[in-house]
């Protein structure tokens, strides 16, 4: 764990060397993550609500998704680059070192746009939490912390599982990009907008609903209008953990079929 932390710090410092790039990528991270809320803000200037959700509610949902996304990205942003690492033949060295290969992937080369993601997530959450009608009781706070982690795992599990396929197919970035976008685009709205079938798929086939829609419904006191029972809604963080456990098993299983791309 301490080794992992030192490696992470080193990779972060390494990227800080490129100052201009750092600024541009951070700005890009902020713009990328704020663009969705900009859309919601613009349309709610003209219209009152989306499916009964007003701007403060939607902002809270959006910010919660960003927090979960950041919770996944900060430690795991390198998983996105796995395909590249493998194609360059750099993965070989991870296998000969006495440290879990996944931890080595995590600490490989910090992607600076993540700083933008974190800044946006924290800022928007601060704003959303102050304008939305949320009762921050100790139970709610505990749920909030757990659900941010669980939501990050629910998103990351799918990304990790697809990235694992890199060991066999050598290129999956477009599929990862699609999944990333599905979480981003569907995850930012109350799922009931999309109808019962899509909601069901985005709950039980892909765990998008557990990232922010279900947790924010609980925290905003809207759990009654959900398509799942309150027990499942309160258990949302556990769902993410289960998904991640399965994804890690897939990673281990695919790792066995790794073949070096050679040098």
């Amino acid at each position: 764990m301490r080794v992992a932390w030192e490696l992470e710090k080193a990779s972060f410092r390494g990227q800080l060397e490129y100052r201009l790039n750092f600024v541009v990528l951070t700005v890009m991270g902020i713009a990328y993550q704020s663009s969705g809320i900009a859309f919601i803000w613009v349309v709610l200037h003209k219209f009152h609500s989306i499916a009964g959700w007003t701007f403060p509610d939607l902002a809270f949902l959006y910010a919660l998704r960003l927090l979960a996304h950041a919770a996944w990205l900060v430690p795991f942003n390198q998983v996105d680059m796995l395909g590249y690492t493998i194609r360059e033949g750099k993965f070989d060295r991870f296998l000969v070192r006495p440290l879990n290969p996944l931890v080595q992937v995590m600490t490989n080369r910090f992607q600076m746009n993540v700083v933008g993601d974190v800044v946006t997530a924290a800022t928007l959450f601060g704003i959303a939490a102050s304008i939305a009608d949320v009762d921050f009781s100790p139970v709610h706070l505990l749920y909030l912390v757990l659900t941010v982690i669980g939501g990050g795992l629910a998103e990351g599990a799918v990304i990790l599982a697809i990235a694992s396929l890199n060991f066999r197919f050598l290129q999956t970035w477009a599929a990862q990009y699609l999944v990333d976008n599905i979480y981003l685009m569907f995850g930012s709205y109350p799922l009931k907008v999309f109808g019962a079938t899509t909601s069901w798929i985005l709950t039980w086939v892909l765990p998008v609903a557990f990232v922010a829609y279900i947790p924010s419904s609980v925290l905003l006191g809207r759990a009654g209008g959900l398509h799942v029972s309150p027990v499942i809604a309160w258990g949302a963080p556990a769902v993410g953990a289960v998904w991640f456990y399965c994804a890690y098993r897939i990673w281990r299983w695919q790792l066995r079929s790794y073949q070096s791309s050679g040098h």
Binding site: N21, M28, K46, F47, I50, L178, N181, Y189
Partner: protein, 283 residues
């Protein structure tokens, strides 16, 4: 070093353009082949647009909530607008060209591009045209899927369709010039991936692909009208669905012409300076 700067400018005369036509055709053909090879990736990128169109349809249907028209557009017309705007915007945007320019410049291969008889800027336009043509073919194949996810509908009238085609070309040229300008920034910054992404986001928003710009709140609408992005998407697609007709439609096309002239001037000025940068880098 002087030989490198010998091809005087990015815009060749009629004569050289004709002579180099086979070369441009070759570039376009190789671009088509590249696109065909990476069709798997294109499929995923197309899937993102289809998902986006589906989401916009559902969200806008929820927003209308039984209102018949909003700002002169019925829900049906609005959904047709959003579907076509997003598909068209996807066909227009080509991040691979600015990345290609960036790679050529960073690795110094731009020197080889410069000594070729065909001008560098026309070469880049040939790349862009080939790749856009491929994207357009993919988009046409995906139309049934797009119709399922979004809403496709006939243009408001026959004349609306003809004006749309005219305005479509204008929008494409503006987008191509913007892509070239973004790519040329690589001559100065040596880093472009962040900028390309930023450009894509700003463009998508201010082009009116998510919300027609007439629905933007006050100051934002003024800003959107002052930027070239609305002329790439909002103008043509509004003509298609009949939101802009008659004199308004012609005014929108006039604005497109103004942007083509302004951006061409801007690109030419940038190109002149960029050539000097190449000499500095090589020397």
């Amino acid at each position: 070093m002087t030989t490198l700067t010998a091809p005087p400018a990015g815009v060749p005369t009629e004569h050289t353009l004709g002579r180099n036509l086979p070369a441009y055709r070759q570039i376009m053909r190789s671009r088509l082949k590249t696109a065909a090879t990476y069709r798997q990736n294109v499929f995923f990128l197309l899937a993102i647009v289809v998902v986006q169109i589906f989401i916009l349809r559902k969200v806008w249907s929820a927003l209308y909530q039984g209102q018949h028209t909003v700002d002169g557009l019925t829900l049906h017309a609005m959904l047709v607008y959003l579907t076509i705007a997003n598909l068209q915007n996807w066909v227009f945007q080509d991040p691979t060209i600015s990345m290609y320019m960036y790679d050529r410049i960073r690795e110094g291969q731009v020197a080889f591009d410069l000594v070729r008889p065909a001008g560098f800027v026309p070469q880049m336009f040939a790349h862009l045209a080939g790749s856009s043509f491929a994207t357009m073919l993919f988009a046409l194949c995906a139309l049934p899927l797009v119709a399922l996810a979004g809403t496709l509908g006939a243009p408001a009238s026959g004349s609306a369709f003809l004006l749309y085609l005219l305005s479509f070309v204008g929008g494409y040229v503006i987008t191509a010039l913007l892509t070239l300008i973004v790519g040329m920034v690589a001559f100065w910054t040596m880093e472009i991936s962040g900028l390309t992404m930023l450009y894509y986001l700003v463009n998508q928003f201010f082009a009116g692909a998510l919300v027609p710009i007439t629905l933007f709140p006050g100051a934002l609408r003024v800003l959107a009208n002052l930027l070239p992005f609305q002329a790439t998407t909002y103008a043509p697609v509004s003509i298609y669905v009949g939101r802009l007709t008659g004199a308004d439609a012609w005014r929108a096309i006039g604005v497109q012409v103004v942007w083509v002239v302004l951006l061409t001037l801007c690109a030419t000025a940038m190109w002149r300076r960029a050539l000097h940068r190449v000499v500095v880098q090589g020397g």
